[in-house]
Symmetry: C2
Subunit: 400 residues, 2 copies
Amino acid sequence: MADDGQKRGEEGEQVVNPWEVTAKDGGKIDYDKLIEKFGCQLLDRFLVDRVERLTGRPAHVFLRRGVFFAHRDFNEVLDVYERGEKFYLYTGRGPSSEALHLGHLVPFMFTKYLQDAFKVPLVIQLTDDEKCMWKNLSVEESKRLARENAKDIIACGFDITRTFIFSDFNFVGGAFYENMVKVAKCVTFNKVVGIFGFTLEDHIGKISFPPVQAVPSFPSSFPHLFPGKDQLRCLIPCAIDQDPYFRMTRDVAPRIGYQKPALIESSFFPALQGETGKMSASDPNSAIYVTDSSKDIKNKVNRYAFSGGQDSIENHRKYGANLEVDIPVKYLSFFLEDDAELEQIKKEYGAGRMLTGEVKKRLIEVLSELVERHRKARAAVTDEMVDAFMAVRPLPNMFS
Amino acid sequence: MADDGQKRGEEGEQVVNPWEVTAKDGGKIDYDKLIEKFGCQLLDRFLVDRVERLTGRPAHVFLRRGVFFAHRDFNEVLDVYERGEKFYLYTGRGPSSEALHLGHLVPFMFTKYLQDAFKVPLVIQLTDDEKCMWKNLSVEESKRLARENAKDIIACGFDITRTFIFSDFNFVGGAFYENMVKVAKCVTFNKVVGIFGFTLEDHIGKISFPPVQAVPSFPSSFPHLFPGKDQLRCLIPCAIDQDPYFRMTRDVAPRIGYQKPALIESSFFPALQGETGKMSASDPNSAIYVTDSSKDIKNKVNRYAFSGGQDSIENHRKYGANLEVDIPVKYLSFFLEDDAELEQIKKEYGAGRMLTGEVKKRLIEVLSELVERHRKARAAVTDEMVDAFMAVRPLPNMFS
């Protein structure tokens, strides 16, 4: 999946597509407008409650705090589940960089929760072909980055008995490729221009890529996993910028006799500098990387994290912090598990009784612990484990 | 490879591309003009002599009678061969129909000769993906036709120890797919519009197909055959309507560090009704099929083969036949091996001493024998043989 790349938006307009996320006039992303424009649905409290009831466990932080805020047919997938049938999960990553940042971890942390809560199989696509084409990386470098990123993904704790990770360069072919052709037959050049903004000067690799990201939505693309289960539903957790791919996929699905995939879509993890878009891969100070040391984290948070606190302590005590734009609070709302503590911080900080420095200090603790835990888990991932996750094999505990 | 399909040419203009072959104003294809337009070279007597000298055997009928009349870098491939190095052959077929006609056999008969004469490996691509996309066949039907056509191809007598036949649906992936992506990165939509005449309304499967036909030109697409031989030269025998694919391929090759493939290109096998283009797949009476009985052949030749003979016996005796337009003589020049007999027929018929009926009678004999020989060979091809030819395996006698 793409996370950055060429620019297409016009000045001043909100642009969200797999290659660009830009808020209107340098402001914040208007997610309500995005839902309306894309035609997806708001993920409301009713659905969150339903997840808790069906799985018998509390909703994930990202669900109860609205990080995953939109969906398509998620309710239908829950209907299926409630009837005692299963579904499978599909998510992915475009391996464009050596190290992931925290925003990259968000969908994987959430997907791991979904896998644990619903006990369902998961396919993870590494679009090394896409990154080779969009980022002008060599085939070899793209494949190497795919394996490196697989280690970070595995470190999130996925269950090897329910998880199949694949690189497009390695896996495309066979049934997967057949589905690509079926999808491609249903999509004109004009259509991909409309959905993705391709131009006549784009190379044909870009134009032909969307089916590659579409077909993991169809169980028949994985004959080693789902033989005879062509109508199994698929749920895709992803950031909302990937919605264009799956709008296309959902449009095509019934025309080739398949189920539309359902989606559960997140907002973007904001840059340290403020919530105006996604993090920029070209500015290392805009993001916390899983390779950052505690010292790096402390330095970045203290130096770059946009604060909603007031200019002077006097004003802060008087007016309190603006929580709407405060990045440390945003980050804590992603990663501080304890609801009561988060509420307490918001209350005290918003009232001016807590200072920016104190909030940042708590954030540095939370992030350092998260990154340290990830680093340890990542260090334990061997090449053999990568091979095992990527082996084309049946999954022993797929639906149990 | 494509042999018919949508129409793009304007009335009155000569159009030759992989989907359409139409002569100007219903006349004959102007092959000299085609060579000039495409920028390939004329295959002259010097090159034919050189083939005879290098291989120590007489040139194939199709070579000495100018059926294969154009080339690109064929002389360079002969240079390579003369230095004691080898090359490999690549040809293909788009499996769009159950039964082949004689025109379909021409490239395979010639390729078999090249394989025997130069003792080189051969890869045969069955573009079942292309036919699925262009002909709107289902994936399953395209794959079935690919296997059926493989039987006809095997029946041409290829050496299993030197021949790898593959269906795109089965084989695309791995190194082959990597090369597809490399090629696709070098070709814009505008470029494929220019080369193939695609439009904005064409589906993206068509737009993304050309790399699939391009990459068998590169030995690294076949790691089970040519490991470490990335610079091995490739020679492609094909009809000249496939030239656009390989113009594109030759343009891209140096940009991704590969050798340009060489080509040896044939004119079109004419329809029974006359030499104005290729045979129409939609008119069974325009072609002799390998499934036709001797009675069918007799009937078709007598009824439909366009004759250059005169309206009356008197005029025929007086003016002689017009050999330029006479289809029975054209067909005999493809399939009558005996040069002396062919010359004798042309002389007698052209002078009006031999009648159309007599020439047709001889043609019926030649074709019936050819088709009968093919039918017997085809009947002996088992599914196991198809599997054996299509197995992804090293070729034991590749260069020996």
